[in-house]
């Protein structure tokens, strides 16, 4: 068990100290880092080229310079990223990849070119009509274009062997994560909501191969002990990102455990299993085609509400928690739809609005505690 504790705290520390962790990963692997913005970026290509893909999901920082480009009603993750970029935090990055899943990302990408000229930007546009063959073809072309750009950066071609190898490292990572989230729901005391989030987040600052090894160990260690007897409240969480961490502390204080999630930063990254056929790039494109219930990928008939209801049943949860990143338009559009469906299914739901720069948690504490009292 003590081995397990060490592994867990190792990953927690990595997630809590992104700057240091990335520096260490760079040193340990000898790879140069490339920043990857939310929601999806073709990390496999970055990895295949011998770069270290690093997640860029914002952080808490005082917004001073970013106001030069973005109004106050802009998503706080993007304001943070521009702020960090302008103040030089990202100067060690070889480049950043910014996908444009929403109107804000389109603008952030365009602003980046001027605001952070020292870090080159590679843009990616994901097709929304991804179920049409033309959409899939477009994405394959787009990924190949990214590959060209990264090759130019590197000054050498990425061999198809390296592409395949990288893809299978990522598939192993995703498979390990699917098994991780499945197993940890039986250990909500050892892997509480905060720990669960931090462990998953650590992947963004490490070499995926090293990270996967630790996850597999954690899962095996956990399986050695019997399922934990948890008398708190089990919930399914959805939203862009389950942060800030202070919010998760409040969940832990109130004995609420996330037993399954639909966070863009967490399960949406790995819940889709790749198809068997095709080249690595084609399989990457198919993973986007096959994604369901993601706020940022168009569906002719929205499936998220029912998906969450099914998740509640499968994970034997009691409720749904919506963690809303303030000013995230796409998530804000989804909310009334899922709200109606979840209410119809008679599943209690808690709605919490957060942003990266939050520093007062009193109202949230009241909401979470009231919710726990209501269900308890």
């Amino acid at each position: 068990m003590s081995e397990l504790k060490t592994l867990i705290s190792q990953l927690e520390n990595i997630a809590l100290n992104p700057g240091k962790s990335v520096a260490k990963s760079v040193k340990d692997t000898g790879k140069e880092p490339i920043g990857c913005f939310p929601i999806y970026t073709p990390e496999e290509i970055v990895y295949a080229a011998g770069y270290l893909p690093v997640g860029m999901w914002g952080g808490k920082t005082e917004i001073k310079q970013a106001d030069k480009y973005l109004q106050s009603f802009c998503c706080s993750i993007m304001r943070s990223n521009i702020e960090y970029g302008m103040k030089g935090t990202y100067d060690g990055l070889k480049a950043v990849i910014i996908p444009t899943f929403c109107d804000t990302l389109k603008c952030v990408c365009e602003n980046w070119k001027t605001a952070v000229p020292q870090v080159p930007v590679i843009t990616v546009v994901y097709p929304q009509n991804r179920l049409l063959d033309a959409g899939y073809q477009y994405l394959v072309t787009e990924f190949n274009r990214i590959k060209d750009e990264i090759e130019k950066l590197k000054g050498e071609k990425i061999s198809s062997k390296n592409m395949e190898k990288s893809f299978s490292i990522y598939e192993n990572y995703r498979e390990a994560m699917r098994s991780f989230v499945k197993v940890v729901k039986d250990y909500p005391i050892t892997i509480n909501t905060r720990t669960r989030h931090l462990i998953i987040k650590a992947a963004y600052f490490m070499d995926k191969k090293d990270y996967t090894d630790i996850i597999i160990q954690i899962v095996n260690e956990l399986k050695n002990s019997s399922a934990e007897n948890f008398n708190g409240i089990r919930v399914v969480a959805t939203g862009l990102i389950g942060e800030p961490v202070e919010l998760l502390n409040i969940f832990v204080e109130n004995n609420i455990a996330v037993v399954a999630d639909d966070f863009a930063q967490e399960s949406r990254q790995f819940r889709v299993q790749a198809r068997n056929k095709g080249t690595a790039i084609e399989k990457m494109a198919y993973r986007i085609v096959d994604q369901k219930g993601c706020t940022f990928l168009y569906e002719e008939v929205k499936t998220k509400g029912q998906m969450l209801i099914d998740m509640v049943k499968e994970s034997k949860a009691q409720a749904v928690v919506v963690v809303m990143m303030k000013f995230c338009d796409p998530e804000e559009f989804d909310y009334p739809i899922i709200k109606e469906e979840i209410e119809k299914a008679d599943i209690p739901m808690l709605y919490i609005e957060t942003d990266m720069q939050m520093d007062s948690y009193e109202q949230i504490r009241t909401r979470v505690q009231s919710f726990a009292e209501m269900l308890g």
């Binding site: 030069k68 480009y69 973005l70 109004q71 009603f73 802009c74 444009t100 899943f101 929403c102 109107d103 804000t104 389109k106 603008c107 952030v108 990408c109 365009e110 602003n111 070119k113 001027t114 843009t123 546009v125 097709p127 929304q128 009509n129 049409l132 063959d133 033309a134 959409g135 073809q137 477009y138 072309t141 787009e142 168009y298 569906e299 002719e300 008939v301 929205k302 809303m324 303030k326 000013f327 338009d329 796409p330 804000e332 559009f333 989804d334 909310y335 009334p336 739809i337 709200k339 109606e340």
Partner: protein
């Protein structure tokens, strides 16, 4: 008895006809579609489907100060007050289905094109879910490069072909390509007259009062593919041309002292006060990004060209294009200043505005101001704040003029 109709009368009549005939069509069992403002309406027109435009309808509701009822309905269902107010008004309308301002029939089909924003994708996705009707989506990838890339054109062209197939399935009718060619030709002609009319504002004084453009705009959205639309803009062009030749300016009782561009959508609930404040200082809004927005031009039967034209909307272009586009307007229209509307509803326009403002100023030296407002939600705009900013702009423009005179 020669009683020639003016373009203003014609505009009023056509608008009334537009809404009335849609309601009649629905009553007679004809198929009705809701569509986004700069979508390839040619396809729907060819299929003889009646189309109404929720953005225009929301603007009409906003202009008649009827938006709060619908906004409250949407927010009551859980929509955040941060999202696009056109969407909030329209989704509220989809529930209430009646407004004293203007009514539209409920749709049988949704037709959405992402060349104006990704927000419409979410909005229409929700409508489709709530109404349980088919949705045809045109995804037009944002152009981070100056020009539209060819592989993007290919993707969009395929979507046009797919949409035709879908329309045939939904209507049970064959798509008539001869008719399609006619509609394409007509739509291009309407756009051409629209552009020619609005371009007359380059003259000094401008025969066009820019806020009129906000009104005339309604039909370049709604009747682009109809011959009445073309006639309207041709007539408008002729009137403006005559005015210009006679040297008549925009205001009857006042001179055109300053020429400005308005960036962004109008503040519909505050249309009158935003206009009057400008007029008070002799400011005429001579242009905006709108004339070019509906200058959707391509060769008849060239589907690639059609895709490229629709994807080339300025909202779908990179920052470099925005800067060049606005700077060109400054030069062509001999602008004295620019008013940027930081429109709480439209993140896509807002989050590029600061940088566009800086670079256009660098490139042209023309002063500008940004004010806070919203296209339909009356809770954002502050009259006092607006006037202070306009006054500050006037002072800057006057300094420039004075410096010019002193030279």
């Amino acid at each position: 008895m020669e009683n020639k109709i003016t373009s203003k009368q014609m505009l009023g009549e056509l608008l009334e006809k537009h809404y009335k005939s849609a309601i009649e069509a629905k009553a007679n069992g004809k198929m009705v579609a809701w569509a986004t403002s700069i979508c390839p309406q040619e396809l729907l027109e060819t299929m003889d489907i009646d189309v109404v435009y929720p953005e225009n309808h929301a603007a009409a509701i906003g202009a008649r100060k009827c938006a709060p009822e619908f906004i409250e309905q949407s927010e009551g269902k859980g929509y955040s007050s941060d999202i696009c107010s056109y969407a909030r008004v329209n989704m509220g309308y989809a529930d209430i289905q009646f407004s004293e301002a203007e009514n539209i029939p409920m749709p049988d089909l949704l037709f959405c094109c992402s060349n104006i924003c990704n927000t419409v994708i979410k909005w229409y996705e929700n409508l489709a879910k709530n109404l349980g009707i088919p949705l045809i989506m045109f995804d037009m990838p944002f152009n981070h490069t100056y020009e539209v890339p060819e592989y993007s054109v290919k993707y969009m062209r395929s979507q046009i072909e797919y949409a035709i197939k879908k329309l045939e399935e939904i209507t049970g009718k064959k798509f008539d390509f001869d008719n399609f060619a006619e509609v394409m030709k007509l739509s291009n002609e309407t756009c051409e007259w629209w552009k020619k009319a609005t371009d007359l504002a380059v003259n000094i004084p401008s025969p066009l009062k820019g806020f009129d453009m906000f009104n005339y705009m309604a039909l370049i959205v709604c009747m682009r593919g109809k011959k009445e639309g073309k006639e309207l803009y041709k007539l408008w062009y002729e009137e403006l041309k005559e005015k210009s030749e006679k040297g008549i300016g925009p205001f009857r009782d006042q001179e055109e002292k300053y020429r400005v561009m308005w960036d962004g959508i109008a503040c519909w609930p505050n249309l009158s006060v935003t206009y009057k404040t400008l007029k008070k200082y002799g400011i005429n809004m001579v242009t905006s990004t709108y004339p070019e927005s509906w200058n959707v031009r391509y060769e008849t039967n060239d589907l690639d060209g059609m895709a490229r034209a629709y994807s080339s909307n300025y909202a779908n272009r990179n920052l470099e294009y925005d800067v060049q586009n606005v700077s060109k307007l400054v030069r062509d229209f001999k602008l004295d200043g620019i008013i940027y509307h930081s429109n709480r509803s439209c993140k896509l326009m807002d989050f590029r505005q600061y940088e566009v403002q800086r670079r256009v100023e660098e490139e042209t030296g023309v002063p500008s101001v940004i004010f806070d407002g919203d296209q339909t939600d009356p809770r954002i705009f502050s009259e006092a704040q607006y006037e202070t900013r306009i006054q500050a702009l006037v002072e800057m423009m006057e300094n420039n003029k004075k410096a010019g005179r002193d030279k």
